[in-house]
């Protein structure tokens, strides 16, 4: 299995550990990734708050590059990139006139298009969970995790076509296949506040607090995420939230790929486990 790989800006910077752990896991399970050449920004939130055409042209320009390089499938691990790609494709797929307009702008006419995947989809569906089970090296059955999918990954369901919109399962299934117990909770798809972190910090503190509180109250040792923004809000703001709400969580926020990596025996340094603000050592030691 070989896929084009679109890391997006986060995975080259703040979410480097997501990038590294994903690459390491893919290598371990035999999935080949080829980073898209000349990739540009997906547009993220700023683009679609500025101009609809811009918000379409940016992701579609990337998809055009991918198609030109001969790929029909791309993995976009960042929930925001994934969302922008899927939405852009959905828009032009349903509106031929719009498609023509955007194709004019990006100077590329799509032939078959490019299918956009999230790594959760790849691991749980395209590859098959039994493969993960076969490759388990480390026993993480003592680590209780809640899977946090965030608000973007599955919504809107008709566009994302990925997992059960309101009660997604793919991350839980991946971790369970590795023998990691995942706990049921009510906050799988709640919003963490996302990019309001800088402009409306108090919203993020409240929403992320609710999520951390819920995770703690079901007895989780850690939260697994699949989105750089979720990770950033829950991890980097945790101390601030603890202070504000007079509580302690000390919940490490793992990218699910990091947990997969640990389980498959990938060395910790390859998974950049030390880049977290809430340190992961305590929890992981307990497991080993």
């Amino acid at each position: 299995m070989k896929y084009a790989y679109y890391p997006g800006c986060s995975l080259h910077s703040t979410a480097k550990e997501y990038d590294r752990s994903l690459r390491a896991v893919c290598e371990k399970v035999g999935i080949e990734l080829e980073e898209v050449k000349n990739w540009i920004c997906c547009g993220s939130t700023p683009a679609h708050t500025t101009s609809k055409l811009l918000s379409l042209a940016l992701p579609l320009k990337n998809l055009a590059e991918i198609e030109k390089s001969g790929f029909r499938e791309v993995i976009a691990p960042c929930a925001a990139c994934f969302s922008r790609f899927k939405l852009a494709w959905h828009e032009i797929d349903n509106e031929p006139r719009l498609a023509a307009e955007v194709e004019g702008i990006i100077e590329h006419k799509f032939r078959d298009g490019v299918k956009v995947y999230h790594p959760l989809d790849i691991l749980s569906n395209n590859m098959g969970l039994s493969k993960l089970t076969e490759l388990v090296k480390n026993d993480l059955s003592g680590l209780k995790v809640v899977c946090y999918y965030g608000c973007l990954l599955t919504r809107p369901p008709k566009v994302m076509e990925f997992d059960v919109c309101e009660y997604p399962q793919s991350m839980d299934k991946i971790l369970q296949a590795l023998g990691i117990p995942t706990l049921d909770w009510s906050y799988k798809t709640d919003c963490c506040g996302a990019s309001f972190a800088l402009t409306r910090t108090e919203i993020v503190l409240k929403l992320s607090h609710d999520i951390l509180e819920a995770a703690k109250s079901v007895g989780a040792d850690a939260i697994a995420v699949a989105c750089p923004m979720c990770q950033a809000n829950l991890d980097t703001r945790q101390e601030e939230i603890e202070k504000k709400y007079q509580t302690t969580y000390h919940l490490p926020i793992f990218y699910f790929t990091q947990l997969v990596g640990i389980s498959l025996g990938i060395p910790a340094e390859k998974l950049l486990l030390t880049r977290h603000l809430v340190d992961t050592e305590g929890v992981l030691e307990k497991v080993r």
Binding site: C165, E166, Y167, D184, S186, T189, G219
Partner: protein, 1479 residues
């Protein structure tokens, strides 16, 4: 029957309220009716409901008598567990093939006694109770079910059972063990497995391999260990209790059977044959019976005592056992064949194979496995050295190694060809061996044995290259130069076993492998009458296979000796149970096998594997997933005295029906709330569906009516309802119509029981559009139920306590997070799951939502002639509308088959009535528990005992439900046995149940009026539910009173009147015309009276419809049809002047265009319609730009309205004093007109100012369309009504928008008022003339809001259309057809039986004061004068056809001059005296 003939029979598909109503109407009007239901009982969903809105009547109490009517109806045949397979033919003559799934219980034999239920060990989710609790696999859907017979829920055979070669049923014995019935479990095992103790220890248990739990979830059930536990427990108690020995059956057959080999196969076969009455002789060369089991299995696995016990139990006196007798030596095989009629060869694979070609094999110290084991078992200690090498890797090799260790070997090496993973031994045996210190050496093949002085000293092995060759044959090859040497002093060869068949002398054909060749099914050898089985056929195999072969051979031998075909019907196809649901089940590992510690095993033969404890065994049994539901333990069969159970019934059977018409009423499916992950249904125990909540509220529900929440059984203090779950969304773009009201009802019921409960209903629009609903909603709000207009987006569960948090926006616009104890999802109604299949089979069209496609003017007609649809199948609707459609569909079928009425009917005959006059009263009293309804409050057994002490009571008993069909049978039996001549039932109310019990009396040959009822439920247990002692005392009083009256009862005899077959329909609108046509089509002369000068009524003003149908074209054709029908007589400009008579014989005087007419007729249909309210508000009548919706409709038809902006104000004159009802049609009128405006001039702005947008049913889609087209809907509150004022030549409408929290001013050119629908002028007058009741709102009041929506309380008079309440055109049409069907049930009869218990005048007491005349509600009394003793005597005369026996006259008479026949003054005095304890 020639194909062009019509058939006087109909099929109704679906036994809910709609299907039941259709069936009753059809059958009563003369059509033989088949009522089909998928379930095991009819009743549909209504029987699952607690109460019904808006009257809060008990659903079950309303419906139960109707169920019984169906169950008892001679001309309704109920087909349950059935579905449509195929349909051919055409309207009037269809052939329908029906598939019936087996019930496994004979309907004609089952008395519904429920004795089987107690015995059934299988608990499965109760569908009826929405899986909140369990029911048994043998079950009745609900206590009052019709048919009342039980059914067995069987889903094939569990895999553990199919896996057992011996045919043992682990599923059943595990179920019995779990329920503490170890003796029954043991008996069940023994039937298939005589050696259960042996098998419980050494079986290789293929059942566990197949176990679904192991395959799908975690680990298989430890079936083998459980069998051992059961057997050991029984054996240990047997010693203590000294159970009596069973007498062996005496031989009944003369034929003799020889069995060679006393191993498991031979013994099993002998055991089976003896029980069939054969004489059996077993030959064995060994000095003991038991075969290989006894000979070679080491004692640490199996004790000889156990073997002797189990073998001994088989060896009864009927078996001749000849030990030490080797066939071929002591007796020749040929002689044996001559002396015996049949022979079974079961000699096993008794010889150890050796390695003849292995260099050095001849050395001293090289021994064979089997002789070695045999010697040890014979308590000898064969000489072995300290270092033992065992060649071979099977179970025998391990047995040898472990035995060697126990008799002194210091070092044992097992060496085998196979790798660790390929080894042929059972893994658990190997595990034990390794524990004991045995070394296992894999992938090595023996090269040679090296000896010194003739004694073996070393074995040389080579590494294996391959074991099998390219063709898969055993042909090991070795890698050169890989020699490995083991020092030893003993070598045991354990490389397999073979059969010694020399004794056959070539008499039988053998296989290339050297076993006997047999037929795989019959086990017959190449020689007739000679059979072979077990290892001698299979090669070394297992005990279970040997036992299986023994059973099969016994069947073959019996057939052979009886001259029957050996093969016929053997090995039937087994349906394996489907995989059970494991989702969400917690993983739980099986019980760990406990063994003696390895160090204590050395040097002795103590049993290694330790038994399970009781706790372990039960816990393990509880892990069983109970696939297949019924386990076929057959305990029910033992319990059933009626012998009604037939486990062998064919799974499916096919029934062919020839019917003239089909009515489809398959109901609906509740929306699957699992789909809405955000609400956590299925994950959060305290989030439940509305139907689950109905069951929780129901007295017969899972918690016996206690309001408890599922997670912890506490009473919820705060409850939330979320409306529109699965309705009004993109996937289901319609409103489910009933949820607002059922949620309100459920909330009210909770409030009534627990007034302190805090209840919030989250809704979008509160759609209380039906008759009486608005007032009900107002009542709910007054009770403190909070209605919050918000659709919550998710529910969060609080971990641990499992409370639920809902975030919503409150009225002030604030976001609030509130915690609730219980959340109910008001799930929508989806098309029935079989809709698609039915549509395909019947060739019908479905609409865009998946419901049956029907039209506004033909609401129950499908796209195929002769096939009609009703109820939820045509769209979401409430109970009365479902009942209406049931009747309407029946009307259609009756019209189609009018010429065939009565052609296929049966008539009921009763036994001749016994004359009991002059006999001393002999009273029987039946006291009903009514489930918990009475039994939960009143001490029923005490009341029974008390009743027995009362004078003339000769018999008394209690029943769970006295109204059930089985109890009716019981009553008849008791009447007969005890020669009763009076009967009392102490139960619910005569209102619903008296006719039922009276019919039972008639069936028992007693006059029905010798019956008396004591109302100990409605008037006792229900009203005194918190005072059980007082209630019991009152119940005793009520029974005593009933007994006092009963002693004075006398037989009464009803009169019969002939029926006039003409009909009168009052009202010539759409409803009246439809009803008239429907009746005329059935052949009845019909008089149609219309007040106006022309027909058409309100429909004349309806110019277009939402769905595009053309009402005026339809009206025109309808009028034409009515006018041209020879049997319809139209009178326009008419008015009823006088009305008299009673059902079957009415007389009406009326005026028509000035002429007075008088007609006689059998029925009346009232279809007088309603009218639009003339508003006085908002400049109506002052400004021509202000108009009603109907006026706008007129204007829209005549051209463009030429307005830039139109405002519509809804609820004009509705939903507030003085009319606290919703006019139902105005919201859709507004949508319709708004869409028309948008169609004509898209730029016109349309604003609809509404309170709740009541676009119920499919109208919702048009509401959405209107929004899409830009129509603006703005809500207003009642206390902030819109204001209208003239504004610069336009109209200004100001309205406060509660969402914006601000006032909006709209400038418009046209203002439309949705004026209320109000009763037509003259309704009151007509009601008085016909003596019909009206509602507080002035509409006619039907007999029962839910179940009798077109009947009046007065027989023979029916109601339809707007005169009943505001409704849309399709609803009016359906109700009109329904009224015709109801009328037809009377008109189709030749005579009607009158009430016998009516008023009677005591002439000598009556002085003609006439006090009684006016109060009589039925106008049945007349004052007359006659000459008596030469003087004029005034007295009162009773019209027997009109009198209903209500007793009002009796109550008004000051002189005891009139009484109702079974409420005689002396009877009432007796009751009063009894109540006071006098006399």
């Amino acid at each position: 029957m020639p194909n062009n003939n019509k058939v006087g029979a109909a099929l109704v598909v679906g036994g809910g309220v709609g299907g039941m109503q259709a069936s009753l109407d059809l059958a009563e009007a003369g059509i033989k009716t088949y009522l089909l239901d998928r379930e095991t009982a009819i009743g549909g969903v209504m029987v699952q409901l607690d109460k019904t809105f808006p009257t809060n009547d008990c659903a079950m109490c309303s419906i139960a008598p109707r169920l019984v009517n169906i169950g008892r109806h001679l001309n309704i045949e109920v087909l349950t567990n059935a579905e449509i397979e195929k349909v051919t033919g055409f309207a009037g003559n269809f052939n329908v093939t029906i598939k019936k799934r087996a019930r496994y219980i004979d309907l004609s034999k089952c008395t519904g006694c429920a004795a089987c239920v107690e015995k059934c060990p299988m608990e499965v989710d109760s569908e009826f109770d929405q899986e909140l609790i369990k029911r048994k696999a043998i079950y009745r859907r609900y206590p009052q079910a019709i048919p009342s017979a039980f059914a067995i829920d069987k889903e094939g055979v569990s895999p553990c059972r199919t896996a057992c070669p011996a045919g043992v049923n682990p599923h059943a014995y595990i179920a019995l063990l779990r329920t503490g019935r170890i003796k029954e479990a043991h008996e069940l095992i023994k039937k298939a497995m005589p050696f259960s103790g042996i098998c419980g220890r050494v079986c290789h248990h293929p059942c566990e391999t197949e176990c679904y739990r192991g395959k799908l979830l975690d680990e298989p059930i430890a079936i083998c260990s459980l069998k051992r536990y059961i057997t050991d427990t029984i054996y240990s108690t047997q010693v203590a209790e000294e159970v009596e020995e069973e007498q062996p059956p005496t031989p009944t057959r003369t034929e003799k059977v020889a069995i060679i080999g006393a191993g498991p196969a031979g013994l099993t076969c002998a055991n089976d044959l003896v029980s069939l009455g054969y004489k059996v002789t077993i030959f064995d060369s060994l000095p003991y019976a038991g075969g290989m089991v006894r000979r070679v299995i080491p004692r640490y696995r199996l004790s000889p005592e156990l073997i002797d016990k189990e073998v001994g139990e088989v060896l009864t006196d009927s078996i001749k056992l000849r030990l030490n007798t080797a066939v071929g030596k002591d007796i020749s095989f040929a002689d044996l064949r001559k002396q015996f009629d049949a022979v079974f060869i079961a000699v096993g694979a008794q010889i150890s194979r050796t390695l003849r070609d292995l260099p050095g094999i001849e050395h001293e110290g090289v021994i064979l496995a089997l002789p070695f084991l045999e010697e040890v078992n014979n308590s000898n200690k064969p000489p072995i050295g300290e270092k033992v090498v065992i060649i071979g890797g099977g179970n025998v090799a391990l047995d040898v190694a472990r035995t060697a260790l126990r008799i002194g070997a210091k070092e044992t090496n097992v060496v085998c060809l196979e790798s660790w993973d390929e080894m042929l031994c059972h893994p658990w045996e190997r595990e034990e061996a390794v524990e004991e210190g045995i070394k296992i050496n894999n992938s090595l093949g023996p090269k040679r044995l090296i000896g010194e002085n003739g004694e073996v000293k070393r074995v040389e092995f080579l590494e294996v290259a391959s074991i099998f060759d390219a063709e898969g044959r055993f042909n090991p090859t070795y890698l050169p130069n890989t020699e490995k040497i083991f020092d030893c002093d003993t070598v045991v060869i354990a490389t397999g076993q073979g059969c010694d068949l020399g004794f056959l002398d070539g008499a039988l054909e053998l296989t290339p492998a050297g076993t006997i060749k047999v037929d795989p099914i019959t086990l017959e050898t190449s020689s007739q009458g000679v059979f072979a089985g077990g290892d001698v056929v299979k090669g070394p195999a297992s005990i279970v296979e040997a036992v299986g072969a023994g059973h099969e051979t016994a069947i073959s031998i019996d057939r052979y000796l009886s001259g029957k075909d050996l093969k016929e019907g053997r090995k039937p196809q087994v349906v394996v149970a489907p995989e059970p649901k494991t989702e969400g089940l917690p993983k739980k590992r099986g019980v760990a096998t406990k063994r003696l510690p390895p160090e204590t095993r050395k040097g002795n033969f103590e049993e290694v594997v330790l038994p399970l404890t009781e706790e372990e065994a039960i816990a393990e049994a509880e892990r069983c997933l109970a696939c297949a539901k019924c386990c076929e333990c057959r305990e029910c069969e033992k319990a059933c005295e009626a012998k009604a159970i037939n486990h062998e019934a064919e799974r499916e059977e096919w029934v062919e029906l020839n019917v003239g018409a089909v009515i489809l009423a398959p109901g609906y499916e509740l929306f699957d709330a699992n789909v809405k992950g955000e609400f956590g249904y299925g994950r959060y125990p305290n989030v439940i569906t509305s139907l689950e909540f109905e069951r929780i509220l129901s007295a017969s529900g899972p918690f016996a009516g206690e309001l408890l929440r599922p997670s912890d059984g506490t009473t919820p203090q705060k409850i939330a309802f979320i409306q529109c779950v699965g309705s009004r969304e993109v996937e289901a773009n319609y409103c489910s119509s009933v949820c607002c009201m059922y949620a309100t009802k459920e909330a009210i019921i909770v409030k009534e029981h627990h007034p302190e409960t805090d209840i919030t209903i989250f809704f979008t629009d509160l759609r209380a559009f039906g008759k009486g609903f608005e007032a009900y909603y107002e009542r709910a709000k007054k009770m403190g139920i909070k209605y919050i207009r918000c659709q919550p987006s998710s529910i969060k569960e609080v971990p641990g306590i499992k409370d639920l948090r809902i975030q919503y926006q409150n009225e002030a616009g604030e976001i609030v997070m509130e915690k609730f104890d219980l959340v109910i999802l008001s799930c929508g109604l989806r098309p029935p799951s079989e809709a698609g299949e039915l549509a395909e089979k019947f060739g019908l069209e479905l609409n865009e939502f998946g419901f049956c496609q029907t039209g506004q003017f033909n609401p129950v007609e499908t796209s195929r002639e002769g096939i009609y649809a009703g109820g939820l199948f045509t769209g979401p609707k409430d109970i009365p509308e479902t009942v209406i459609q049931g009747s309407a569909a029946a009307a259609k079928a009756l019209s189609l088959l009018s010429t065939e009425k009565g052609t296929l009917l049966k008539e009921k005959t009763y036994p001749p009535e016994k004359d009991v006059r002059g006999e001393e009263p002999r009273i029987g009293v039946f006291v009903c528990h009514c489930g918990k309804n009475i039994g939960g409050v009143v001490d029923v057994p005490e009341v029974v005992e008390y009743a027995k002490t009362l004078p003339n009571v000769v018999y008394a008993e209690s029943n769970l439900y006295t109204c059930s069909t089985d109890t009716a049978e019981r009553i008849k039996q008791v009447i007969d046995e005890h020669n009763l001549n009076r009967l009392i039932v102490a139960s619910c109310t005569p209102r619903t149940h008296e006719p039922l019990f009276q019919d039972t009396l008639r069936e028992a040959g007693l006059n029905p009026y010798l019956f008396e009822m004591a109302n100990i439920r409605d008037q006792c247990s229900w009203v005194h539910m918190h005072e059980p002692e007082e209630a019991t005392k009152k119940a005793r009083d009520l029974v005593r009173m009933a007994v006092a009256k009963s002693r004075l009862l006398e037989p009464l005899y009803p009169k019969f009147v002939s029926v006039n077959h003409d009909a009168l329909v009052i009202g010539g609108g759409a409803a009246g015309m439809t009803a008239a046509l429907e009746l005329a089509e059935q052949g009845f002369e019909t008089y149609l009276l219309e007040k106006e000068s022309q027909l058409g009524g309100n429909l004349r003003r309806v110019k277009f419809l939402l769905n595009g149908e053309s009402p005026q074209a339809k009206l025109e054709s309808l009028i034409e049809e009515v006018q041209n029908h020879a049997k319809i007589h139209i009178y326009t400009g008419s008015e009823v002047l006088n009305f008299e008579g009673s059902v079957g014989n009415f007389r009406t005087e009326f005026k028509s265009n000035g002429d007075v007419h008088q007609i006689n007729h059998g029925v009346v249909i009232v279809a007088t319609g309603a009218q639009e309210y003339k508003p006085t508000e908002y400049l109506y009548g002052q400004d021509e730009r202000v108009m009603t919706q109907l006026e706008l409709e007129e204007k829209l038809t005549n051209g463009n309205i030429g307005a830039k902006a139109v405002v519509m104000i809804q609820c004009m004159g509705s939903r507030e004093e003085p009319r606290v009802y919703c006019s139902r049609i105005c919201c859709s009128q507004a949508i319709k007109n708004a869409l028309k405006i948008k169609e004509k001039s898209p730029d016109t702005n349309v604003f609809v100012l509404y309170r709740d947008l009541r676009a119920y049913g499919f109208i919702e889609a048009y509401y959405r369309k209107a929004r899409d087209k830009g129509v603006r809907f703005i809500r207003y509150e009642l206390d902030e009504k819109p204001q209208v004022s003239p504004d610069n030549g336009r109209l200004k409408v100001s309205v406060h928008d509660p969402i914006l929290g601000a006032k909006i001013n709209i400038s418009c050119d046209l203002l439309t008022l949705a004026a209320a629908t109000i009763p037509r002028d003259g309704t009151k007058d007509l009601a008085q003339k016909l003596k019909l009741p009206l509602t507080g709102d002035g509409f006619f009041l039907e007999a029962h809001m839910k179940l009798r929506p077109v009947d009046f309380a007065t027989d023979g008079i029916f109601l339809c259309g707007l005169a009943h309440s505001p409704k849309l055109i399709d609803e009016s049409i359906a109700q009109a057809s329904a009224a015709a069907a109801r009328a037809s049930t009377i008109l189709s009869k030749q005579q009607i039986q009158l009430e016998a218990a009516i008023s009677e005048v005591v002439d000598e007491n009556c002085d003609g004061c006439a006090y009684c005349i006016d109060p009589c509600p039925y106008d049945a009394l007349t004052l007359i004068e006659y000459m008596k003793d030469g003087a004029v005597k005034k007295t009162v005369e009773v019209d027997e056809t009109a009198c209903k026996g209500c007793g009002v006259c009796q109550a008004t008479c000051p002189k005891q001059g009139i009484f109702v026949r079974n409420f005689r003054p002396d009877q009432l005095s007796a009751m009063a005296n009894a109540a006071l304890g006098i006399g």
